[in-house]
Structures are given as C-alpha cells and as structure tokens.
Symmetry: D2
Subunit: 411 residues, 4 copies
Amino acid sequence: MKYHVKDLKLAAEGKLRIEWAARNMPVLDLIKKRFAKEKPLQGIRLAACLHVTTETANLVEVLKAGGAQVTLCASNPLSTQDNVAASLVKHSKVPVFSIKGENTKVYYSHINAALDARPHITMDDGADLVGTLHGKRIKQAPELLGGTEETTTGVIRLRSLADQGRLLFPVIAVNDADTKHFFDNRYGTGQSTIDGIIRATNMLLAGSVVVVCGYGQCGRGVSMRAKGMGAHVIVTEVDPLKALEATMDGYQVMPIVQAAPVGDAFITVTGDTSVIDAPAFSRMKDGAIVCNSGHFDVEINLKALARMSKKVRRVRTFVDEYTLKSGRKINVLGEGRLINLAAAEGHPSMVMDMSFANQALAAEYMVKNANKLKRAVYPVPRNIDREILGVKIDSLTPEQKKYLASWEIGT
Amino acid sequence: MKYHVKDLKLAAEGKLRIEWAARNMPVLDLIKKRFAKEKPLQGIRLAACLHVTTETANLVEVLKAGGAQVTLCASNPLSTQDNVAASLVKHSKVPVFSIKGENTKVYYSHINAALDARPHITMDDGADLVGTLHGKRIKQAPELLGGTEETTTGVIRLRSLADQGRLLFPVIAVNDADTKHFFDNRYGTGQSTIDGIIRATNMLLAGSVVVVCGYGQCGRGVSMRAKGMGAHVIVTEVDPLKALEATMDGYQVMPIVQAAPVGDAFITVTGDTSVIDAPAFSRMKDGAIVCNSGHFDVEINLKALARMSKKVRRVRTFVDEYTLKSGRKINVLGEGRLINLAAAEGHPSMVMDMSFANQALAAEYMVKNANKLKRAVYPVPRNIDREILGVKIDSLTPEQKKYLASWEIGT
Amino acid sequence: MKYHVKDLKLAAEGKLRIEWAARNMPVLDLIKKRFAKEKPLQGIRLAACLHVTTETANLVEVLKAGGAQVTLCASNPLSTQDNVAASLVKHSKVPVFSIKGENTKVYYSHINAALDARPHITMDDGADLVGTLHGKRIKQAPELLGGTEETTTGVIRLRSLADQGRLLFPVIAVNDADTKHFFDNRYGTGQSTIDGIIRATNMLLAGSVVVVCGYGQCGRGVSMRAKGMGAHVIVTEVDPLKALEATMDGYQVMPIVQAAPVGDAFITVTGDTSVIDAPAFSRMKDGAIVCNSGHFDVEINLKALARMSKKVRRVRTFVDEYTLKSGRKINVLGEGRLINLAAAEGHPSMVMDMSFANQALAAEYMVKNANKLKRAVYPVPRNIDREILGVKIDSLTPEQKKYLASWEIGT
Amino acid sequence: MKYHVKDLKLAAEGKLRIEWAARNMPVLDLIKKRFAKEKPLQGIRLAACLHVTTETANLVEVLKAGGAQVTLCASNPLSTQDNVAASLVKHSKVPVFSIKGENTKVYYSHINAALDARPHITMDDGADLVGTLHGKRIKQAPELLGGTEETTTGVIRLRSLADQGRLLFPVIAVNDADTKHFFDNRYGTGQSTIDGIIRATNMLLAGSVVVVCGYGQCGRGVSMRAKGMGAHVIVTEVDPLKALEATMDGYQVMPIVQAAPVGDAFITVTGDTSVIDAPAFSRMKDGAIVCNSGHFDVEINLKALARMSKKVRRVRTFVDEYTLKSGRKINVLGEGRLINLAAAEGHPSMVMDMSFANQALAAEYMVKNANKLKRAVYPVPRNIDREILGVKIDSLTPEQKKYLASWEIGT
C-alpha cells in the first residue's frame, strides 16, 4: 500500500484522538451500523480530499464499513493532524497522502495520488479534486459516477463550471444541506475561529474591537461568538440585506477602510478574494491582528502586504509580524489560511457529525442514483437532511395538520 | 363617503401620531415621491385589510399618491388605533371601516364593506379579504387583477387554496420577501411582543422562565429579546431542524407538557392551532401567564381553558384570570389575540417601513403584470426586495466579481 | 381625614392593580404576616415620600399591619398612579397627598402635608422629606427617631448633610442594601427604562445606537437591556474604573460630545446634573431622542436646550419636540423626568418586593434601635439583607466551612 | 547562580513569547520606566511564588528595573511555561525554580529554594510562600518586611491566619483591588477557562449544558462566556444573594445534585473544597466533563471519584477518563487543577497587566510603608488602583462636583 504521512509512530496517539471524537459523533455511528449491514458502497473506489482530522477519520471508517475503498488526501496544506493520518494508515489500512505544512507542490502531488486510485466517487472540500479532474486529468472524468462537495467555496467553483457547461458529472452540494451549513458554518466556524485566534495570540477579546468581513452563515457565527466573548464587533459586507441584518443584530456596519483604523483584530469569512487589501492595511493600528477563516488563503492580500513591508518575522507559532515601511506592525495569523484549522482543531466533532453524516448519505445516494442525474450541482435530498436530526420535541396533532392545510378558517 | 370609525374627534391626535411614524419610514417616503410623479396606480380601486395603525396610514398615503382609490378595513378586531382611523377619514378622505374591540359580526361587516368598493387589487393581512372573496362573494372574483398578502398565516391559507386549484387570481406573498419576514417577523415581532407582555403585566422578565412555542422567524425574535431581557428561555417546536437550531442558540428545547410546569410566561408564535391546550394548562404553575403573538387567536385553546375553569374575571386591562377547578390561576393576555397589537403598538414604524414598501411595490407590480401572471401565489420579485435597502457598505471590485465567477483558482 | 388625590372614583380600578402587584411580592407578604402578629411599629407615625404606585401601596399595607400610622406623599410630580392613590384613601384609609402631573408648588405643599402629620419616622425616595425638615421645618427635627432613604441620589444628599455635621437624626441607606441596589437599580431600572422609551416612542431598538450616560448599577442595567434588544450601545462615564468595565463588557466608551452625533437615543442615569448639555445638543442628529432615568430632572439641561430652540411642541404623549435654530429637531421624553415612571409603570413588582422588604425591615430596625444610633447615614444591617432572600441552593458542609476557615492546607 | 528549570535550550522561544506578551502590557511598561529611574526596590530581596508565565516574566523585569533581587518559583505544579522559565534564567539572570509537571515534593523544594534567598518581601499567588514561612520556616519570619497576595484563595488563608492572631507581617491583598479582581477574575478567568476546556476537549459549547459552581467574580465571568459561546448555563451557589443575581442574569440555579444528571460539562470556581463530590458523580451522564478553575485542586473530590471507579486512563492530553463501576465514564480535565493554566495559557496579558501593575505598586508601597503597617491583611491603597487606569472619558465640571456635594437642591 502506498501512502505519504509524516510518521507512523504517531499512530497510537492518533487512535486515541479518533476515539475521543467518535464519542461526539452519534449520527455517524448510526449510519456506520446500517452501512455495515447493507454495504451500499460495495466495490466503489472513493477519493476523498478533506481536512485530515479525527472527524474525517470517523467518516472514512463509515465509508469503509459501507464497502468503499477509500483514498484520502488533504484539502489544505496546514490542516492535517499528522497522528490521525498515521493511525488511518497503520490501524485502518487506508492510503493517506497528507502532511501538515506540505508545500503547494507536495499538496498537488497528493491530490494526484488520490486521483491515481481511479475513483468512481469524489468527496471534495473546496473542489480541488474536481478542479484537477477538469484540468490536467480531464481524460479520467468519464470514470466518475459523481462527487460530493463540502464547502461554500467549492460549490461556487462547481456552479461556475456548470454554468459554463463544462461540468462532466453530477455533484451533490453537501454544503447546502440545512444540517450542514447552519450548524457547521454558523456554530462550528463560530467557535473554532475564536478558538484559533486565542490559541495563536492569547489576546483578550473582552473590550477589543473585532472586525468581521462577511455576514454569511460563517460571519454570523464568528460575530456572535466574538460578541459573546465581550468584543465590540464591526461587520463589513457587500450585500445590503446582510448588512442590514448585521445592523439589526446590534453590530456596527461600515466599509473596511473605515473599520481599518479602529479594529484590534480582523477576520475574513467571505469566500472572496482580496477582501483585506492595501487600502485597509495602510490604515490599520500598530499591532493589528489579521486572519482568515474562509476556505482559501486569498481573502487577505498577503502579497500586497509583503510589498508594503520592510520586514517579516515569525514572532509566535502561527503569527507573522509584518513591519510596514511606516514602522507600524501588522500580525498575520496562520499565513492567512483558515485559522480554525491552522491554529486550532477545526470544527468540534459534534458539528462535523452532521456534516459528515450528510457526506456519507450523499455518497450512498450518488451511487444509487448516478445514472438518473445530469451533469449538474444538486442539493442534498431533503429526506437525507431530516434523517440526520433527532431531538425530543412536539409533533403535529391531526387537528393541527388539518388546520395548516386549510384556508377556510379566518378571524 | 361611507365609513365606520369610533369617533372623528380623535382625528387631530391621530394625525400627530401618523406624522411621528412617518419620521421612521424613509423608504416609504422615497416611494411616495416617485408614485406622486408616475401615478402607477391611477384608476385602480384597492381594498386593504390591514391593522389600522399609524404605519398603515402612511402606506395608504403612498397608495393614494400613486393614484389608487383606497378602502381600508381592519384585519383584526383588537388592533385598530381609533384616532388613526379617524384621521384617515377626516384628513385623508379615506373610507375606513374599523373600530377597536369590534365583535366578529361587525368585523366581517367591515370586510364586506371594503369588498363593496369592488376592488381591482386586494391587500391582505391574514387573507380574510381573499378568503371572503372565495367564499360568499365568489362572483366578484373575476373583477380582481390580483392581491398581496402580508403574513405567514395568510400565505399558508392562500397556498392551500392554490393547491386545491381554487385560487381565482394571482397573489404576491409579501411575507416571503427577505426585507419583510427577516425584519418584520424577527425584529418587529421580537420587540413588540416583549413590549406587549410588559405593558399588559409589568412582570419582571429577568430571572423569569419564558416558554416560546415555535422557532420560526417570529419565535427566534421573541426568544432573542426575552433572553436579552434576562429571561431563561425554553423553546417548543415540531420541526427537528428548528429545534436543533434553538438548542444551538443556547435555549432549552422540550415538549410543551414538560415546559408547562416550569414556565412563568408562555408565548405562541407558530401559525398553528391549539398549540397550548388542556394537557399543558393542567400542568401550569399558579399565576402562569399565557399569550399569543401569532396571527390568529387559535394558538391558545381558550375554549378548553374555559371548560377547565370555574371562574373568569378581568384583573387588569388585557389580563383575564382563569381560575381552574383546582384553584390554580392562569392569566390570559389580550384574549389570546396577538399581544403586540392588543396591548402595545405593533411593530415599530421602522420595521413596517420595509414591509409596507414591499406592499406598495408589489401592488404596482401586480397592476403592471397581472395579465402575465397565473392563478398562483408569487414571491416578491427580487429587484423589489433589493430596491428597498440602503446601507453604506463595501462593493465588489471587478477582480472580486471575476474571482467569484471562476472555478480555476484552487489551493 | 385630610387627603389630596385626583379622583376617588378611580379607587376600584386601583384596588385591582394593587392586588395584581401583590402576587409578585412574596417577601413583603411574609413580613406583613409577621408584622400583623408582632406589631413592631405600634404607635409610630410614619411619613412616606415615595412614588405612589401599586408596589408602594403594598408597602403601606405592611407598615399599617405593623401598627404604624402612615401618611403618604409623592416623591416625584409625574410618578403617581392616580387610581392607586384613590384606593389607598378609600379602601385603606391612608391620607395620601399626590396627583400625577402636580406642579412644583403643589408638590411641596404635599411634602409639607406629610410633615404636618408630625412623623417619628421618615421614609424618603430622594430625600425631599429630610431635605425640607432640615430647611424650613428644622424645628420639627427633634421629634424624629430616624429615617430611611431609598435612592442613590438621596443618599448622596444625606451624606453631604452628614459630612457638614448638619444631619439631625440617623438615616438608613436602604439603597445600599445588596438586595436593593443590585436588583432594583440593575434589573428594575434596566427593564423599566427600556419599557418607558418604547412606550413613549415606539422606536425600534434593534439596529439603533443607544448612548447610556453613566455605568453605575442603573447604567449597567440599561446598557444590558438595550444590547439585549439589539441596540448598539455607547457608554459615557467620568470614573475610569467604570469606563474600563463598560469597555470589557463589550460597549464602546467615549466622551458625550463624541457620542452626540452618532446616537439615536440618549439615556442619563448618573445622579449628576447637566450631563447632557449644550455642546452635546449642538452635535446631535436630527430626530435624536433624549431622556433621563436618574432620580432628578437635572441630568438633561433642558433650559440650555430651550435657549437653543426656536420652537417646542408636544408631538406625542411624553414627547416634546425641540426645533433648534439650525432646524434640527431633538425629542425630549417625559420632560426629562425619570422615563420609567413617567411613560411606563416603574419597576416591576418583583423588584420592588425586595426594595420594600428592606424599607419595612429598616423602619422596624430604626424604631428598635434609634436610641443607639448617631446622627449618621447607616447601611442596612446585613441580617436584614439576607432575611429577604430565598432560593433553593446548596449549603456549606461542615468540611467546607472548616476549609474556608483554615490556612494550613496549601498546594 | 542556582536554578531549576526544564531546559535552557528553550530560552530563545521563551524570549519571543515574553516579548509578545509585553505588547499587551502597557501599564506595566509605564511603571517599569518610572522604576528604572527611581529604583524604589533597591537592595530588596523579593521571593515571588507565581505562575511562571510570559506575563510574570514581564513583572519580574519591572521589579528588577526597580532594583529588586528576584527569586521565582511556581505557584502551581502544572502552570509553568518551561521556555519562559528558561529565558528568565538565561537572558534575565533570574534564579527560577519551576518545571511544568513537577510533583508535590519538587514543588515544595522549589518553594523552599525561593525562601532560601532570604527575602524581605514575598509575592504570593495562593499563599504558599507565606504558608510555608508560618509553618516550618517560622524562624525566618522576622526578616520579612511584608508580602503581597494575588488570589482570593490566598487572601482567605491569610485572613484566617490574621484572625487567629498568628500572621507575622503585613500583607497587601492585591486580589481585592478593583483593577485586579474585576478584570482578572471576571474577564481573565472567563475567557481562559473556556479556552482551556476547548483546548482540552474540542467540545462544542453551543447547545451544551454547562454547570458553573460558584457565582463570584470568576463564576460570573465563566458563566457569561459559556453563554456567549451558546451554552445553556446552570449555576450552583451557597450564597442566596449570588444565587438570586445568577437567576436575574438569566441562568438556571439549582443544587449540584440536581444539576448533575443534566450537565455536559462542570466547572468549579468557588475557592472551596469538595464542591463536586460522590453524590454528584453518581448522578452524572456518561461522558460528562469535569474541571476546575479555582485556585487549588480541592474543588473536585478526585479521591472520591477514584474510589467509585474501576479504571482510569488518559485518553487525550489533559483528559483522564474515569470508568465508574456502573460503566459510565467521567472525564476529568487537567487533574482537577486550574484548567486555564493547565490546558491553556492562563489569563491574557492585557488582564495580567493590571493585576501585575498592582503587584509592582504594592511591593513599592510595602517597602516604603512597612514600618507603619501592622501584622494584618491590607487592601491595595486606592490611589494605586486608580493610577492604573487610563481611558478617554468625560470629567466632572465644577458645577457637577458642586451638585454632587450639595444636599439643598431637591425636586
């Protein structure tokens, strides 16, 4: 078996961590039991390009229980937990290609290693597998039944491909499942971003001014948690509806150049590029902290910052201090990559439980329905989304159902 | 001119209040200026069945400015502001049929009076105009170009009609506009429900246990504000996704019968019937407070409560004390009608500004496009929704637009 | 029996309201039962200068149950509930001197009427009884055993008297009891101030900018609730410790002239004079709302505002619109008097229950201990404070008590 | 120079971290500059028993700048940052005795090493220096001018000594300074406890039930932040006033045995012993998480838990899984020692800046005033407390000062 991980000796440590995560993943556990009986993925080769974390390890176990042959590579150069990668290779016999801190060249060699396994199904987190397949490896595309995609960013890329008529197989946008984006983006990103910033800086959030760029689900989550930690939160947006929503939620809303001189910490969660750029950098306070929790490392224009700087040095793990020509210093966290994975552990297992339950069920659905689907981006089927939930609540009485279906009863 | 209001002598007082509201309705004001020039509603007879409040008065002025002949009746027997009704008749020469506290018979005579004006367009808040038109006055239906509907409840009724193939003209679901339901339901209902409860009871929310039935937009708003006032909030739901969302937002979630013995105050915002019923009443604490902020007075089963009681008396304006056979007392606010209009002033003007801007623009759209529309419930056209917003924010750079439309750029 | 109230015909209505309040005053009820047995105030003449509200009526009943002869006058010209005053006269046979909206001359005639009853004990809310006694009626002072004082403002005045060596009898600062100022000032003022503003204006707090002047217990409460309703809150202070605390709690802190141009609503809760003055008025936005929730109407310099204005008119009950010479308009609520009593109902009964339990027990203590006390301002005895509380909680084990009293056990 | 640290090779890494902390310690920096000029501690030997962290390193630099000879030992076996200890030895030439993870025997050998330096001043965090001095090393006591104490726990021990008439020199209770306990306990402990729990477990706080034992300043802080992260918070208390305050702040309050079966995570912050004991353990859910953020590791009765368990194993760094005889598992974090130092980095520098500014100024005060002080526990002199603050705020006008000092002006 070929694989590329940091050190197999880390496997024992990784195994304990994977078990720890498993305790908070009850939904995935239920699916695993069913998959073990029904084997819906029997004979399927599946290439997964995901953050190589304890939760992903549990997803891989579920897919294997369903009969799939899984190959795993990282979806981000900084997000791999090396001991988890080691345990997957050693204990689970899964070919893993992923090393924390790998450079871009190695990163893409790992993507290619995963595709070398000639998958029927791709499971993406940012669409790098599908992107590579539609680029240099386009000849391999006919072998694919379909794919699943985890993130907003990936879905944007896939829709762009589909809009140009160039998408070559169906993909399910797991990200769009209510049980995914509501919880993963809002509650997962919310907590883990704050966690990453505190681990990277140990800054006091209470009394600080935190600028959140973007008020989508991720931005809402981050804003809510920063406020919950006592920060004064400013939001920047490009969508007037979201801007108004942020205002109504009690945040200040203003353009980024106006927020620049008052912010102590800046967090990008937009899915877009160059959200913090030279005009903002040039107005920031000495000592300002800048980080990203969106998928790609393009949200902060680090090249522009480097050009404005006379010196860059690492002053703390995950903190690079840029000294501008003016003498002011700007601290960039995690090289502008998603801070919750770079400096912390990513989403809590309980959040990933729901996301990955969607992934597992979407893969099953794709295998069963690929022949009926077009070359398009599909939502997660609604029954999948609902299968995932389980809370003790009220249910509608027959009288209530009838009432909701009637129009005759008025004032 | 025929009309039916409480007392024209109240008109001066009403005029000042209408002016006060106008200050917080800048969007409607912009539309009024355009309508006055373009006269898009010229020659149109419009019957509006809305809460007769200061904000509605400002909407009526906009419709008139656009050229419409407006007849107005109440959409709820308890929600009329009598001095506003008086001013509309006296100063604006609008036929109004509406008296606060009118009984059901008078209520429907007012609905019929509005329909007697033989409208081309209906503007509904709960679908009583459309409901009556599809009942006893079905012969009048062909005269209609279309309608607009303000509430979730009304939209449910209209969809039910449409599903049965019986809807006779197109209706725009104003409620579904982002600028309506996000703000009106979440922020408007949130504040005004709390306001209504405090005015009705002067209870201290800090330290109290507030049970919110329903976690839709209204329920979110009410929960958020009750928590913001220091209450411990319990949510009841029938939808597992919303239940999970409420849990993640930090609320306790449980079935209503389990919440019954611990709640100090209960608020229904579900759009459904008998949400609080005998099993809950029989478990409530002595002195529990029960109220509704959903559209119709069916959410609390008052008939069941009356059957369980040996005595009912009014102990405070808007508070009826039901003494159960067990001796325990349950206090019902505002007769189970929407408490924010019964005991307070309904949504703040700033919220209604956006809802009513949607109404005005939807009426204009209906007049211009009625011939192209089918007998169905339509969403508010997206450009209308966006026309309404105006906040100073960032805009996308050409580079950012290109990035968002591309799929090639990966990790 | 002499008295001066608005209209005895309002008594029935007042009685129902007093009963409603009694349900939320369980502590006072316990004390009433003990007082009825022990009669600790037998033969005592007590003059109370308090806001004449439903809660005060319940306190008066407790004092009477203890044997006291009570005379009651208003401690604020705008805070009387006329139907409560009527019920106290008619049903409880208490001489009340108090009419909502009385002018300053009548106000002081009522203070003097209360003192004409030749009290042994004064019960003050703002120190107007004691102030008058130490002014024109100084000859009457030797008849006094002592007094109690409800507010921060009153305590400041009394300490000033005592510091000058001029205080002629002991006074207990009820305000300083933990069960008073924590709850009354923070939770009571917090909710009721927001309530007063919404009733007076129906403004939407979500998304608005609320400026709170003063971050004492009242300011904390008001800030917390304004934030809880979705406002963006700015705090102004003169004490650096409190300013830092406000910052840490997530609020913006700045000088008033800097806050003036951004605030939508301004609330003073400082206990000081001219907190909002000409420099702030001259920078405010058109339509700004200004109100006070501190004890006296001196916090907003209305004389300065009047001098800057070319026109003043009442545009809504409790709202006076001042049109500045520049054309901008500033809306003053409740004539600058405490907005929670002017436009709303004052503190909820549950809050006043604890404050007034302190008052009743302090009066009893004063009667029993007056001969041992000096001419000074005293705190509420700690055992009184604790007698008032009753929550189901843990208690210390003997082992824990021992641990807390030891120094030997270290790391 | 004698010292005992883990590895001098860690010094370079420690130096960068100390510099990083320095950026957020502006107050200490101001004092350092003054001390460097005035040398108020010239000739003084000072033994400090503090958490050996980056912030403490900055305090040590200030004391040295003032002329003191400082010896440093750890105040907790698990809280040492080994690279900081190394840098203090290597770069600052300070004798440090402290190794992360040292056992109790080594811990006390380090305490004794610090006392071997024959200090004039002790600087304690938990009173272990003073405790040891009053135990086996009592003969050394006369050499002491006085001491300072950082924590609530230490102050309790010192007061107990003083009450027994056995305290042998004056000690300043730095903990009682407003600038210390408000900010350090509330905001510092609040954030860092949450930080420690997330690092130790990566659990999702949103939607979880967090039980906070104790509602002092620390408990308030932890509760506020847990709520801010989306948890449902339950508080346990033994003081009825604090219990009521917690209720009013919107938390559920109940005895610990009642909270035991519903909590997902339990946090003790009481300063007392055996707060979580067998009766609570026996009712907890499978997988419950238990940790402490109070000073000593006595708050959770781990001995009782061990007796109830059939197996203990470490499942994750800082997590010990106790398997009860019933099969249920309870996870104890950081061996019951303060989780914010065990698993995270302790208070953010900005918080410690104020605490340690108090420490430095208190040491100076002690040196200057020791001969005037009795053998008692003293508060921080008020002018010290105020020297530390600096926010841009309003100041009182002469008119306002006069108003606050007068009693004549009434209604």
